[in-house]
């Protein structure tokens, strides 16, 4: 496998895992989706040589594979009750459990969003600027603002927070 891909996986592994989790609740299927994303990246690497936009390129490929995954998996649960693994519990078991619950609720809330809002939200969570989100998804920065506004309201409702 190309060295490029290994470096890409090392650098953007977190981004890929987070994007995959926004599309698939089931751990085994999510791993399968990650493999598909990696294969898509491997095929797409030759078409991208601009290092400055590599993060956006990786996110775009991952989201496109994620969208294909949604199309191919029409009947499956969007939510899970527990997450399989979290980073080590350094702040005590109670905090760890609380963190786990918050994360599961947030993941489920994100997965319940329409596709366009979900894609925008996951990129915002990864620290993409509005312009970068727009460039990645092929929409204007204004459109990104509108989507994020809608997404915030939808997330607050899904999480049971007051708006």
């Amino acid at each position: 496998m190309a060295q490029d891909l290994s470096a890409l996986l090392q650098e953007y592994g977190g981004l890929l895992a987070h994007i995959a989790s926004s599309y698939e609740a089931d751990a085994a299927l999510r791993q399968d989706l990650l493999q598909d994303i990696t294969l898509a990246l491997w095929r797409a690497i030759p078409s991208c040589r601009n290092d400055a936009s590599m993060k956006m390129f990786v996110a775009r490929v991952a989201h496109n594979r994620g969208a294909s995954h949604v199309v191919n998996r029409m009947r499956h649960p969007k939510t899970v009750d527990l997450i399989e693994e979290l980073p080590d519990a350094t702040e005590g078991p109670e905090t760890h459990t609380q963190l786990q619950q918050n994360l599961v609720r947030l993941q489920n809330a994100v997965r319940s969003l329409p596709l366009n809002l979900r894609q925008t939200v996951t990129l915002a969570f990864e620290g993409f600027s509005h312009q970068e989100i727009g460039d990645t998804l092929g929409i204007s920065a204004n459109n990104v603002d509108v989507r994020l506004n809608r997404a915030r309201k939808a997330l607050k409702t899904a999480l049971g927070e007051s708006t």
Binding site: Q10, T38, K156
Partner: protein
């Protein structure tokens, strides 16, 4: 609470998700690549076998004209099926170049084309059955096969085999159409989510 606070809080929680195990993923992807290579080799071998058989059918002496005609028809049909299968993978191959809306539109287009193709298959099966039965009509009269064991021995397996193949093909096509309609419905719902009334991303 300010919107920025919400986004920061959620982003912080979101970032707590585990990353990937790069070595494990690389191993899994390598295995998948091998499976895909074997699958492609298998497909190519299959294509070579079919093309060889069809070519022999055209070249070999003593082959009846209807069989040669059938072989001639099968050549473009086989090429079309092969082309459609290659197209099925386009979504994966083009993962970098197209946006989600384009991918969804392409998927919907393919599903519609699949439904049309399945209808064509159904029509072809019915047409071939009708034509074959009209050619065989004289032999199908009870007066012919009741008193002629030779005709009976030839007709029985022919009708049983071809009838079973035709029914199986009809069932497969109907099931395929059903799945493609469900897929189309699902894709159209997703497209409605991601585009406005003018079809632009919203």
């Amino acid at each position: 609470m300010k919107p920025a606070d919400d986004w920061n809080r959620w982003a912080q929680t979101w970032q707590q998700q585990p990353s990937i195990n790069v070595d494990q993923l690389r191993q899994q992807v390598r295995r998948k690549q091998w499976r895909m290579r074997i699958f492609i080799v298998w497909r190519v071998i299959g294509a070579i076998i079919v093309v060889t058989a069809l070519t022999r059918l055209q070249m070999a002496p003593g082959i009846p004209i209807p069989m040669r005609v059938w072989g001639g028809i099968m050549f473009p049909l086989f090429a079309l099926i092969f082309y459609m299968r290659v197209r099925q993978y386009r979504g994966i191959w083009n993962a970098a170049s197209e946006g989600t809306v384009d991918l969804l539109r392409l998927t919907a287009k393919r599903a519609r084309a699949g439904i049309r193709l399945a209808w064509t298959n159904v029509a072809a099966i019915i047409l071939i059955s009708v034509v074959s039965l009209s050619f065989a009509a004289p032999y199908l009269m009870p007066v012919r096969w009741l008193h002629d064991p030779n005709v009976r021995h030839v007709l029985a397996p022919l009708i049983a085999t071809n009838g079973a193949i035709a029914i199986a093909a009809l069932v497969i096509n109907a099931s395929y159409m059903h799945r493609q309609r469900a897929r189309l419905h699902h894709v159209e719902a997703l497209l409605a989510e991601v585009t406005d009334l003018d079809g632009h991303p919203n």
